[in-house]
Assembly symmetry: C4
Homo-oligomer: 206 residues x 4
């Protein structure tokens, strides 16, 4: 139970921060800095308890790599999505609705989301599940910096989501249009599975 609790808290603060920094009066291009920072902090706070996924694509990638019990996968994902929804409602209570959802073009957005979800999940598998890097103190920074860099790199293309739970949260908050949510669900899951497949290929002779 305590693992789900930690997944709830981490995902809540990730989505709560995303919503508050995007909805006006927003903080513009400082948003990825804040988002990377809160993710880094939440990973260090919860990594030793739940693995600090806070992201269904990460949970699927970690499962495909064999580092989470199959029985935990569904409860993790449900917990993450509920946390994102609760965070979205908290943001709306505090800051109100944004004026209109961002407009994105499907094909570039899908490519961008696949690429950076792949990068995010591969970084996580290497720094947080690999034998060689066990005991390091940098895993939270590596993961948080990946999301920060990705948000700067493709934020104007796809929103820089890389996380189906975040996709649910920003849809509830009205930052993203409901008609776009399939892009994230599809591309993020593809990216996560690709990362796990590439991880296995790289480590096939371990």
């Amino acid at each position: 139970m305590k693992k789900y609790f930690v997944e709830f808290i981490g995902t809540f603060f990730l989505v709560f921060t995303i919503g508050t920094v995007v909805i006006a009066p927003g903080i513009g291009l400082f948003a990825p800095l804040a988002i990377g920072a809160v993710l880094t902090a939440m990973i260090y706070a919860g990594g030793h308890i739940s693995g600090a996924h806070y992201n269904p694509a990460v949970t699927l990638a970690v499962w495909f790599r064999g580092k989470i019990n199959s029985g935990d996968v569904f409860p993790y994902i449900i917990t993450q999505i509920i946390a994102a929804a609760v965070a979205a409602l908290a943001v709306l209570f505090i800051k109100g609705n944004p004026e209109s959802p961002m407009e994105i073009s499907a094909l570039p957005a899908i490519v961008a989301e696949i690429l950076f979800t792949f990068a995010l999940c591969l970084v996580i598998l290497e720094v947080a599940t690999s034998e060689t890097t066990r005991g390091n103190s940098y895993y939270g920074i590596a993961i948080g910096f990946t999301v920060m860099a990705g948000a700067y790199a493709v934020g104007s293309v796809s929103g820089g989501v890389f996380n189906p739970a975040v996709a649910v949260g920003i849809t509830i908050m009205g930052i993203s249009a409901p008609s776009s949510i399939w892009i994230y669900l599809f591309a993020n899951i593809i990216g996560g599975f690709l990362a796990a497949a590439i991880y296995k290929l790289i480590h096939s002779d371990d």
Copy 2:
């Protein structure tokens, strides 16, 4: 005695930095970056001596979790508040008064302050008082990044205080109205106790 001395120095530089980066000519949206950086540095400098609380809400959370002697709680809090007051006077000497205090709306501010004081204290308990994470090199970054992210996330809602000593400091400097100080004292202490309670729940079977 040396513990109180370190608490004084750390809290002084936290509040001195907050005041100087906010009062004109301030640095706008770079302020949370500077505040997170000075907190990170002061935690690394003093953590091994006093625990580097620099915040009455943290001292109360650590006390509730059982990692500070009861006899130290009151001296820590008094020291932090005196340090904040001295820092406020130093800022006023160097930069003068701001034109008018920020305006906040009580209910959203209370929710925002409870949430991020909770996050801050839970991060601290996990990265700096938990057996599992003992000896890590990331605790200062995790804590500093939480405050930075929180300042970006809810700075426009509540000022992003998360610390009763900071509340005293910004009130003396005229950044915050005296009529708002109860919001911080109330919400920050609630947030700290909630974090300690949740920490105990998560670790109840350790």
Copy 3:
């Protein structure tokens, strides 16, 4: 083979991030932050597998210092250049061409590129190949921060490249003029060899 694979992935995301943050709608002066962040993350993800060079000048410096097999040098460099080219095409697919390449003045650009490629390679040799610093958790941050600082320092002078593979990538994307590419190839290789020579001098009595 897995080393080349990791060099491909790391260099791809470095160049992909550089292109996406520069080409409109770019992120202006946040670009070095994003580039330093993605490099830090990719170094932590791949350092334990390939050494995480992602840069022909680094590969040459590491080779001159004697920490890579001679037979790996050419495949590493070819892999990095191919990865940069593929990343450039991916950026063009997603964001289109920039309006016109940056204009640089050759002599200051050469000095700037030699200086910071020297700094980058010396930092790498000290934090990632020296016996004394073995097992540290800071190497990715040290290297990523060097590139970030260099991009801020001399970005307006030379573009802040410090990497022949990146030079190829930005030339393909049209950010840099084809007539400038010799500046980077020349200055970055000089900088890398200087760093290896200075490293050997400093450590001559180890």
Copy 4:
């Protein structure tokens, strides 16, 4: 000899970065970020060889605390000042002169410089010379973040120098007026000695 060499390189890149990010076309409020980053990187690159002072005030503080041989103090300081002068000439070659030096008011500038040089030197003594924190991976970040925070906090008051070698460099570059240099020499040395005295007081019973 190799210690002086490393002090030269580290101080050179610190002052070179300060000059290039300030002189037009400068990078405005991103400057402290770049300066903190290059200092962090240079500390990780050279700390295990020379102690990575790059600052006469730090060398004096470390000497007063008893962690550098008396015979090294003068050569360290001379090396740092020469490196700063060479870096200043390199910046002038690349970017030319700024239009006019910054104007500062002596008394607030002295207070600001004493305070943050004290903070900088105390952080260094605690994270890089204390027995309790031996072997940590965070010392470069703690030190770099202190300078970054200080530059944001008091940059508009005193320039945010905290380092007599930097004072020499910015005077040669024309960023600071020759008539102000005594402020830095005086305040930075006072700050350094205060830090060493306070460090000894805190650790008097070790």
